[in-house]
């Protein structure tokens, strides 16, 4: 029998952390699907990774800097053009506190 890796409650919590609202139907469906996927991911458990360094990135580049020179940036109206809601020269955000 398949192991249950995560419950519907955990899916709800993780979706909340990711700021994605889910419908009741989706919570159930995603819980099923996530358990199938995590069951497949289980195969990595048996790999011996003792003393192996993680690869975050395949390039040997580190701390890529450029000269700190001022250059023109996006004009205000361009920067605001794609905003769904705006007021005067500002982006309009929902209430935060």
């Amino acid at each position: 029998m398949k192991r249950r890796h995560l419950s519907k409650k955990e899916v709800e919590h993780t979706a909340w952390l990711a700021h994605i609202e889910l419908s009741e139907k989706e919570k159930k469906l995603f819980t099923e699907q996530f358990n199938d996927i995590l069951d497949y991911f289980k195969k990595i458990d048996k790999v011996d990774t003792e003393n192996v360094q993680p690869t975050y990135h395949v390039l040997d580049l580190m701390n890529v800097y450029r000269e700190d020179e001022a250059a023109p940036s996006l004009p205000k109206e361009e920067a605001l053009k794609n905003a769904p809601k705006k007021e005067k020269d500002f982006l309009k955000a929902p209430r935060i506190v």
Binding site: K43, I44, V58
Partner: protein, 488 residues
């Protein structure tokens, strides 16, 4: 004389240079083709016919004034809709970005414009490149030109289908776990995923930064090499760009594999590989042997874990990358947004993102969350190191590695979409090149029941030259590229 839309990029440029055809005629011919086929194929999300024709007339003016022409003069180029184009809607095939118009061009788009290439439109894809079938697009799937009831592969499915049907001469794809190679294989075109860092990533809408590369797609190896020569190179705006000098990759296209050592990893023919695919790919390997290469079975044991490793890394990176979609600066925003920030943010993302994108963000968030980070994300990154080491070892012995691009032929639209894991399994042979940052490409190597099969060639970092030479030799000595889908 073949129709202008059926010309390769090389032939198009030659015809325009020698004044046998105008750029306007070439672009018009491609749009005629688009108008004839697009309701059946659905390769494009956005078309820009007027702009393209205007640009073509500018090139014709250059010709008549005797001014020098770029390397892609008059070539109709389709662009995957994850690559930003100034003033042209760029949606990533998502409702989230349905109305997003970038204020700048991706660096690769600037390069193509400098070489007088002509952007004709933006191609359909899996939403945010998450998928292998182009079915997760908010704008409905693209159809495989070889069998309209089947998927074209993904995520760059629109680009591959456009090139295969002559709806574009060249197309941009982007490959995070096979998104160029998979649709290239399924539509019988050539597609390259370059070495990580070789092609400038500035302006590509990110899904998994450490894995993805923009890649060229074309009807033959020469055109792909030409296209790569234009888009490869260092970019100071991209901190993950390799400082490699510009090359003309067409110079490496020699018709010979004499003395080449080719490894055939048995892990690429594992459980789930269809017999028909295995047969065609092994026939391709024998062909290369006949042509003077030595081919030998080999083993990279860590490849067995590549798929699980890839999905953990890709989902984790996606969850972090896609956090930017809050519906404030750009993107989908619900109308009634008088709730608090957290509620509005969560609703925007519920409606703006499709199911697969939400699944990956949530599962990625889980893999990065306290208590699971070591078990999933960190563990996967360590296995990534083992996979790199296995490739390094293999490349001490072999010049290139060969296997199938896809384990199965193109499947039916709707066949797998309800089962995410079954769809992930299709990426089993392509993801390892992304994890290790290696160049890899798919070339047509035959058909099974009228459906295309692609052969994958993988090379050591920055050895696109070796990969291209093998692909070119194979292509020159086989007839697969001459076969066209029968669409009237």
């Amino acid at each position: 004389m073949p129709k202008l839309h059926a010309l390769t990029a090389k032939e198009t440029v030659e015809k325009i240079r020698s004044k046998e055809a105008t750029a306007e005629e070439c672009v018009l011919s491609v749009f005629e083709r688009i108008h004839r086929l697009e309701d059946r194929i659905h390769a494009f999300v956005t078309l820009i016919e007027e702009e393209a024709l205007e640009k073509a007339r500018e090139i014709d003016k250059k010709v008549s004034e005797g001014k020098p022409l770029g390397r892609l003069a008059g070539v109709a180029i389709a662009v995957k809709d994850s690559i930003c184009t100034k003033g042209i809607r760029t949606t990533c095939s998502s409702r989230m970005l349905e109305n997003f118009v970038p204020p700048y061009d991706a660096d690769v788009i600037e390069r193509v414009k400098e070489e007088d290439g002509i952007i004709i439109g933006k191609t359909n894809m899996d939403e945010f490149a998450m998928g292998s079938s182009t079915e997760t697009s908010y704008f409905a799937p693209t159809h495989n030109p070889w069998d309209l009831s089947r998927v074209p592969g993904g995520s760059s499915g629109g680009s591959a289908a456009a090139v295969a049907t002559d709806e574009a001469i060249l197309a941009f794809g982007a490959d995070t776990g096979g998104s160029v190679r998979c649709p290239a294989s399924y539509c019988s075109v050539v597609g390259i995923k370059p070495t990580y860092g070789l092609v400038r990533r500035h302006g590509v809408i990110a899904f998994a930064n450490s894995l993805e590369q923009i890649g060229p797609m074309a009807r033959n190896v020469y055109d792909c090499a030409l296209f790569l020569s234009v888009i490869a190179g260092h970019d100071p705006k991209d901190t993950t760009s390799v400082k490699a000098s510009a090359k003309d990759y067409t110079e490496f296209l020699k018709n010979s594999v004499e003395g080449f050592k080719i490894g055939v990893p048995k892990e690429f023919f594992g459980e789930g590989t269809s017999e028909a695919v295995e047969k065609q790919v092994l026939r391709g390997v024998h062909k290369l042997e006949e042509l003077g290469a030595s081919c030998e079975e080999t083993s990279l044991p860590s490849l067995e874990y590549a798929l699980a490793t890839y999905y953990i890394v890709a989902m984790s990176e996606a969850s972090s990358n896609l956090a930017r979609y809050d519906g404030i600066r750009y993107g989908y925003r619900i109308d009634r947004d008088n709730g608090d920030w957290s509620t509005v943010y969560s609703k925007n993302r519920r409606i703006g993102f499709g199911a697969e994108v939400r699944r990956r963000i949530i599962l990625g968030t889980y893999a990065l969350s306290a208590g699971y980070y070591d078990k999933y994300y960190l563990k996967a990154l360590k296995i990534r190191t083992l996979i790199r080491r296995d490739f390094e070892k293999a490349f001490k012995k072999f010049g290139v590695l060969i296997g199938p691009t896809m384990p199965i032929p193109p499947f039916k639209i709707g066949e797998k979409i309800q089962d995410p894991l079954a769809l992930y399994m299709c990426d089993v042979d392509t993801v390892s090149a992304n994890l290790a940052g290696l160049p890899a490409m798919s070339v047509p190597c035959g058909f099974t029941n009228g459906l295309p099969v692609g052969m994958q060639i993988i090379a050591p970092p920055l050895r696109e030259d070796l990969m291209l030479q093998v692909a070119y030799t194979f292509e020159q000595n086989t007839t697969h590229k001459n076969r066209k889908p029968s669409l009237k």
